[in-house]
Amino acid sequence: MNPMNSMNPYFAGVDIGSTMTKVVVIDTEGKIRSRVIGPTGAEHRQLANEVMQQALEQANLSFDEMSYVVATGYGRLNVPFADRQITELSCHARGVASFFPSVRTAIDIGGQDSKGLEIKEGKLIDFVMNDKCAAGTGRFLEVLAAALNLKVEDLGGISLKSTRKVNISSTCTVFAQQEVVSLLSEGVPLEDIIAGLHNAMASRIVRMIKRLKVEPDVVLTGGVAKNIGVVRAMKENLGCAVLVPEDPLLSGAIGAAILGKELTLKALAKGEPIPRRERHLEKVTFFSS
C-alpha cells in the first residue's frame, strides 16, 4: 500500500518572521497549493491563524486536511496550531535546496535579521546570524527609504541608474541616515546615494557570511532579495553569481512544509504514528510564558 494513502495529503509551513508572516501549503508531490504573505506587525502578530485560514481558502482546503504543520521564524515557539517548531535556519536551508539543489551558501536578509547558511547536499551544516543590529537587515533600507522620502520597493530600480556610487562610511543605521542627509545637501544624485547604501549593506553582510566557507552556488532569499540593487551589490561584494528564487520571501515557509512532509514520510516508513500534536487553528499565543 502506498504510505501516502494513510495520511492527509497536505503539509503546511508557517513562517512567522519579525516583519512578515508567510504560510505555504504543499501537496505530496511537493507542489505548492497555496501561498499567503501577511504582515506580522504589532497588531497582526496574534493573527497567524488568519493568514493560515487565507492559505486554506486559497486552495479550498480545510485545516484537518493538513497532515503536518511546521512553524518557523522568530514567532515559531507559541504557534498552537503547529505540530512542531523548527528553526528558520533549518527551514530556509531546506527551502532553498528545494529550488536550487546545488546550493552551498544561502544568505537570507529578513526584516530584522540576516543569516548565512552553509549547506551540503541539501542539509544545513553551519550558520551565522545577525539579530542584534538593524544594519544588514531590511530595517536598514526601510529607515533610509523613509529618510529619502521614498518607498522601500523603489530603491532597487533607482539605484540601477547610478554611475558613481558613493561610499557610505557608516554601517550604523542611525549614523548612515545622518550621512545620507548630508550627502543630499551636498547635491549628490539620489541614485548614487542609494547605490552606496546597498553597497554598505552588502559589504556588512558579506563580512559576516565570511565566517562560513562561502562557496557557489550562492542563493539570496528574504524580502530584501527583491531589491535588484542589493542583489547586484551582493554579487560585487561576493565576487560570484547570486541566484534568487522566484519568490524569495517564501523559502522558510516552503522549507518548513517540506520538512513536515519528510517527517511524516519517515514516520510512516518506520510504521510509526505521525508525530502530530493535538491542535486547533487558533490564535498565536505570542510571548506568553
Binding site: Y74, I86, T87, E88, L89, S90, K123, L124, I125, D126, F127, M129, D131, K132
Partner: protein, 390 residues
C-alpha cells in the same frame, strides 16, 4: 514535598539568595572576602578563618552604572560586577581578592579600588606562561598574598592549617567529580542546569557546608524518579564564567542534555587536585599555574617539555576534553562565550579545530550577558541541534 530532592532544593535556595549565609557568618563575627574567578587561592583564606565568597555579575540586572569606570565595549560580566558593586550589592564584604586572570579582571580590580573601597584588597598577579621562572615568580606572589591575608586576619598562617584546608578543598574537588560522574549515564542523573546551580551554591557557602551539600545531592539524585529525560543530544559546553542557569536552561531546553562542561562555574574549578607538598605553597603554586585548564594561561610549553609540535601542543592543551567526549559519550559541543571575551575568544578557533579532529560537531555561540540574549541563543542552539539530528 517528598524530600527526595532536599539537597537540590537547598542548592536552589542558596543560588537564589546567595549572600544569605555569608551575611549570617558576618553577623557572627567572620570576615568575608570576595573573590572572582577560579584563580583565587581559597585554601589560604579558609585556613585563616576568613570566609571566601564568590563574586559574580547578574545578567538579570540591567547594567546602568558601570560606565563610571569601564568602557562599553568591555567584558559584560566585569561591567555587571562593577555595576552591582556600585549599587551596593556587595557592601557586606570585608575584603576582596582579584587575581590577574585576564586583563578585564585586572582593569576592573584597579577601578574597583577607586570607586568602591573595601577594608582589605589584594590584587594577585599571575604569570601567563608555565616555566620554571614563572612558577618561582608566582610563588613569590602567593607569599605576598599570604602576608597581606595574615595581617588582615590578624594571625599567622601555619603550614599545618593550610595543608588541612587544601585537603578539605581537595575533598570538594573529588565530590564535584563524583557528581559529574552521575552525568555519564543516559539519561544523566542530574541536568547541566541543576549542576550549575549546585556549583554556584558551593561558591557561596563555607567549604565544609558545600561538601555536605554535595554528599546530599549525590546520594539523592541517584534515587530520584523525576530526573532528566533522555534526549538525542549529549552536549559538552565550553565556556568561561557561565553563572546563570538561564543560559544552561536555554541550551538544554532546545532539546539536549548538557552532560559535561569545561566552565568556571563548573568542572574547570574542580578538575584537578592540589598536591600535598612539604611546603604547602609549592602545591598551591603548581596547581594554580599549571593545573587549571584556562585560556588565560599559555600552556603549550608544558613544564619540562617545551616542544615545537602543534599536535602535541593541542593534545597537552585540550587532551582532557577528549576524555570528556569519550567518557561522557558526547555527540556535540557548544562553545558559549560572552561578547568581548579576548582570552577565550582567541581560543575558539583552536578548540573548534581540536573538536574537528575528534569528529565532534561543534558550534560557537555568543551572548551579551542579558536576558535579551536568551531568545537569539535559543534559536542558535536549536538550529545546531537540528544539524546534529538531520
Amino acid at each position: 514535598m517528598t524530600g527526595e530532592n532536599k539537597g537540590l532544593t537547598k542548592a536552589k535556595e542558596i543560588y537564589q539568595d546567595r549572600s544569605r549565609r555569608a551575611k549570617e557568618l558576618k553577623a557572627g563575627g567572620k570576615k568575608i572576602v570576595g573573590y572572582n574567578c577560579i584563580y583565587s587561592p581559597l585554601e589560604m583564606m579558609a585556613a585563616l578563618d576568613l570566609e571566601p565568597y564568590g563574586l559574580f555579575g547578574d545578567m538579570r540586572e540591567p547594567t546602568s552604572k558601570a560606565d563610571r569606570g569601564l568602557p562599553t565595549a568591555f567584558c559584560p560580566i566585569m561591567r555587571s560586577l562593577l555595576d552591582l558593586g556600585l549599587k551596593g550589592r556587595y557592601d557586606f564584604l570585608d575584603g576582596m581578592v582579584m587575581p590577574h586572570s585576564c586583563d578585564a579582571i585586572e582593569k576592573t580590580a584597579h577601578v574597583w579600588q577607586c570607586l568602591i573601597p573595601v577594608p582589605y584588597f589584594h590584587f594577585l598577579d599571575i604569570p601567563c606562561t608555565v616555566h620554571e621562572e614563572s612558577l618561582e615568580y608566582f610563588k613569590g606572589q602567593l607569599i605576598d598574598l599570604k602576608k597581606t591575608l595574615e595581617s588582615f586576619a590578624g594571625k599567622e598562617l601555619s603550614s599545618e592549617k593550610l595543608r588541612k584546608a587544601i585537603e578539605t578543598y581537595n575533598e570538594q574537588r573529588a565530590l564535584v567529580r563524583e557528581l559529574y560522574d552521575l552525568r555519564k549515564p543516559d539519561p544523566p542523573f542530574i541536568s547541566g542546569t541543576e549542576s550549575l546551580q549546585v556549583i554556584k551554591a558551593l561558591m557561596s557557602i563555607p567549604v565544609e557546608e558545600g561538601n555536605e551539600l554535595l554528599r546530599q545531592v549525590i546520594s539523592e539524585v541517584k534515587e530520584r524518579k523525576n530526573g532528566p529525560q533522555k534526549k538525542a543530544a549529549r552536549l559538552l559546553v565550553w565556556s568561561h564564567i557561565l553563572d546563570d542557569v538561564a543560559l544552561m536552561e536555554t541550551i538544554e531546553g532546545a532539546g539536549a542534555n548538557v552532560v559535561i562542561d569545561d566552565c568556571c562555574v563548573g568542572r574547570r574549578a574542580y578538575q584537578a587536585d592540589i598536591d600535598i607538598t612539604e611546603d604547602p605553597l609549592d602545591g598551591l603554586t603548581n596547581y594554580y599555574l599549571t593545573k587549571i585548564a584556562c585560556a588565560r594561561t599559555f600552556r603549550e610549553a608544558v613544564f619540562g617539555e617545551t616542544k615545537k609540535d602543534r599536535i602535541a601542543d593541542l593534545e597537552s592543551k585540550f587532551g582532557y576534553m577528549k576524555d570528556y567526549v569519550n567518557e561522557w559519550n558526547v555527540n556535540g559541543a557548544v562553545l558559549l562565550l560572552v561578547r568581548f571575551c579576548d582570552p577565550f575568544g582567541f581560543e575558539v578557533t583552536e578548540v573548534t579545530d581540536y573538536f574537528n579532529s575528534l569528529d565532534l560537531p561543534s558550534t560557537y555561540l555568543e551572548h551579551g550577558y542579558s536576558e535579551g540574549s536568551l531568545a537569539p541563543l535559543r534559536t542558535r542552539a536549536q538550529a545546531f541541534l537540528e544539524t546534529l539530528s538531520s
